[in-house]
Symmetry: C3
Subunit: 409 residues, 3 copies
């Protein structure tokens, strides 16, 4: 297909290794009618369906003339739709959204203190990595609009991420998106809030004011779209200033965790990340303390050597010992090691059993106060023990009948 | 003895291993006169004295009918009186205090910067541990109303601690009480301030505001009871929030030291206390720095393995190296090791001798400035050196004639 | 020469080992005319010149009677002038300054972010150490008015330092002076600001308020003497309070770096400085983070064992790994080791080359955004990489033609 005007949109990915994606070349000439060329490796099975989708989109935007080449590498409908919509809106300036019906499977909410051992980073413009991400059962998936998306691809990635939120099944993982740095990243929210994003990662956060701006924008969008659910925030601390401001950030509204990003942090110090982590010990300690002081979770940095599972394990053990509740991951194979080593161990489970039992007994006796020996147990400690017990049961590390067994032991 | 009404007070301890204590069972029926039964293992020697005391208390409160069983395990008078008063007031709601005359030996004050290497925790409702505590010569004893007292025993423990402050000899140890968490713990002060408590430990402190409330209550009681002496405060930092607020707490009025409590702190982080202490290094550093910034003492956490003296010694050496001035202890046998290893060593004494000598020389010459070589020595450094020299003399590590020897060396 | 009155000024140094200095004994009697005695080891070559200078000074102050003994040990004119002026002004109370013409070589300015690997401490009253200091090419020299000057010598040291700033060639090293503690040290500024001092070290800094006072005094003097250049500030953190206030100090106006002083800091903690530095790890981390958060340099403490180059090297490596940008030194022989080990290494240079290349490419393409892979590179990171490349070229670690080589590789 030959393109004639100066104004041609090139959207999506093509080339060696590209799959589950498509590349759209489009122009909107003044004459010539609708001309669509589709090159697809699944032509025989899905060619007609794809063509129907392409025509539907063109028709939705009301164009009488359009020239479009779609090179398809096995893209699903929401991917194709995202690519074509990005092309159309880029060329026409239209603000209209072309939305496929949202999957019912994608309408779940998450709780403030749900388990967050692992969260898998997925580049926001790479649909092939999103399709099966949920199968690996990370606690959360992160559709990344920031560092994993090239500057020239920022525009189209928002459409891709929006459609992923609507139509890709993440199997119950918490649906997170990392926006671009505030204030630029505020505009990303328009593509996320109406589509049941559970949590927003705010990169390079350095003040409570940045979080206030994010909340303000989210509230504006929630009002506009009549949305009631919570949108949690996870600021990422990745600079010395962020480290020193960690407490005010952690205490901000809707923040459920702070993450620390050590690549950028060590670059900010002008030093290098080491395996022992001496250079970031202060920063990690400050972040853990700020989180616990604010009653939220502390999330550790990703571990970048995806081949070394033993080193990852050691890293998780050290991380948990410092007080972190989870970490990021950049490859699905890291998830199992992360889950196994952040999971409550025998000592923790035994302690939690004693506390929960003391609570059960106190409640049975109508006491307002839970005690273990002479020591009173504060309500948050009881709640945390109960949560740990529930988690241990979920992970198959504890029988649901543990209490009967405890009483009979 | 048979008790007839529903309202029976059960106060004190009995059972295997109980000594120096008694257990009181009491009711205040409407008829029947005064009925007292005493079962005592020291009946032959002290039976009449004890009965006289019991009648005196009943008479003090003006009851015409009372039924009381006292099971005595060698309790001293102030212990028996505390138990009976608690029973009487619990049953009658009377606010009157039954006070034995305060021992003259218990009227000493302590100074803001006195030595505080060791402070021995004593459960506030266990008189047997209090009786000889002072013999072991800790720098301070802590009568604990918080974690070492079961919730059901909080009421009676206040009477026990009050009478201990009045009538048990602690041989010059600083007389400390750990109250319950603020705000609940403020009510404990009524039982302490009029009875020459030297220092109040404020547990789980997380803000200067909590200390302000404690000071306010103390000042109110000092005014009410016409008391002039100082009541020092030692907040305990045992949470992440407390750690991050350490400076404002340390700078609060009447605070002479911060203590750190690592069991609760590590629980707050959701981690575990280790021998190396990596998980609490940041917290301990912050507390030390906050204390030194405020010009007060930094007191380390207790060491819980009371059998391992070698590990305790290593712990003290590391603690002192970080800047701590002392630590808590939970068994008298820990005191000697703590004193020996926090005590000034030869290097410190030699340095202090040089500074004090420079001060003596400057004073002799009428100079306003003390110098060592070219370096001016600030007055607080001179003062600290003088204090260290005095301490070294007290501990027998330095001759009182050291200065003559220094000049002749 | 015999001195007759009570009021005799004794200024400068004499005795074994003294060189490049002189000692002035002077009185201003009411009669007797001008009597000058010179004892000089360079009498034969410079005797007449020195006598001329002495007469010139006496005449400048308009005295008709003066008795002066000058014992000279090879002092340069600015040294002799400083000693005699101090004597004259001490005796007469005159505020007039006797200034030799300022050397043109001493009129250079320094930039906010110039390289500061090494800064050599020079006692402010010891001219012999100043004369050749610049030859060793430290990044900066510190004329010290504080700890290296005895209290009795503070007065005369100001004249010495002022004349050094005017007439001693430091070969391009940044011209720094450590003043005495604020507020006393504010008076030192009168002797420094009019004489092109580049940077003021503010010792034992504990608040932004102290820096505000220094800036206020500097601005007052700049206005008075019509000076436009910048005077940078480097506060020294050497107490626990300073550590906890590091961020507010780092963010103060004209501050280009914080230094940490570990001898005084560990004394403030009541502990000792060790080779491993566990006792100061928190403080050093806090200072590094405060500096990077404020976008300024972090400067480490001096290393006091001037004989052990291997230990110094290890110290620098650890210091750089923590994020420090340089350190103090107390002997010229430390400079080379310091420079070599703070200098950018191969890994840093390679990374910087990639970033600068990406910047060059983005600029060539007219892009407003610099990217490496998908990751956008923030402007400060680009600027830092450019600075590192420039430095590597200056240090001979990189060819000025590196970019051509990079493109051809």
């Amino acid at each position: 297909m030959e393109f004639l005007t100066d104004k041609v949109a090139l959207i999506g990915n093509k080339g060696k290794g590209i799959r589950s994606d498509c590349h759209v070349t489009m122009e909107l000439p003044e004459t010539g009618g609708i001309q669509i060329e589709l090159i697809s490796k699944v032509e025989s099975m899905y060619g007609n369906d794809i063509r129907k989708l392409l025509h539907d989109i063109i028709s939705f935007y009301g164009f009488e003339n359009a020239r479009m080449l779609v090179e398809d590498f096995g893209a699903l409908s929401p991917v194709i739709a995202a690519r074509v919509e990005a092309a159309v809106r880029h060329l026409s300036g239209s603000e209209k959204e072309y939305l496929l019906p949202m999957s019912d499977k994608n309408k779940y909410a998450t709780t403030r203190d749900r388990n967050r051992f692992s969260r898998l980073y997925l580049p926001g413009n790479t649909p092939s990595l999103m399709i099966n991400a949920g199968v690996h059962k990370p606690d959360g998936i992160i559709l990344d609009l920031e560092d994993a998306v090239a500057h020239t691809k920022k525009y189209e990635a928002r459409f891709m991420v929006r459609n992923a939120l609507r139509n890709i099944d993440f199997y119950g993982a918490e649906r997170m998106v990392r926006i671009n740095q505030v204030p630029a990243g505020l505009a990303d929210l328009e593509f996320l809030i109406p589509h049941n994003v559970n949590l927003i990662l705010v990169p390079k956060c350095e003040s409570a004011e940045q979080i206030r701006l994010v909340n303000e924008k989210i509230n504006e969008l929630k009002a506009k779209y009549n949305i009631n659910g919570n949108v949690w925030l996870m600021p990422i601390i990745e600079s010395a200033l962020g480290v020193l401001k960690a407490l005010e950030i952690a205490q901000s509204e809707n923040v459920v965790a702070l993450a620390i990003g050590l690549e950028d942090y060590t670059a900010d110090l002008g030093t290098r990340r080491t395996q022992e982590g001496t250079e970031s010990f202060f920063a990690r300690s400050m972040v853990v303390n700020a989180c616990k002081a604010a009653g939220i979770q502390a999330i550790d940095s990703v571990f970048s050597d995806v081949a070394d599972m033993e080193a990852l394990k050691e890293n998780v053990i050290r991380s948990k010992a410092l007080g972190f509740d989870g970490m990021g991951c950049i490859h699905p194979r890291q998830i199992r090691v992360i889950h196994e080593n952040y999971a409550p161990d025998t000592v923790e489970i035994e302690k939690a059993k004693k506390i929960v039992n003391a609570f059960i007994e106190a409640t049975a006796k109508g006491l307002g106060v839970v005690s273990l020996g002479t020591k009173m147990i504060d309500p948050p400690v009881v709640k945390r023990a109960q949560k740990l017990i529930d988690l241990a049961i979920t992970l198959g590390k504890l029988s649901p009948e543990w209490h009967d067994e405890f009483l009979n032991a």
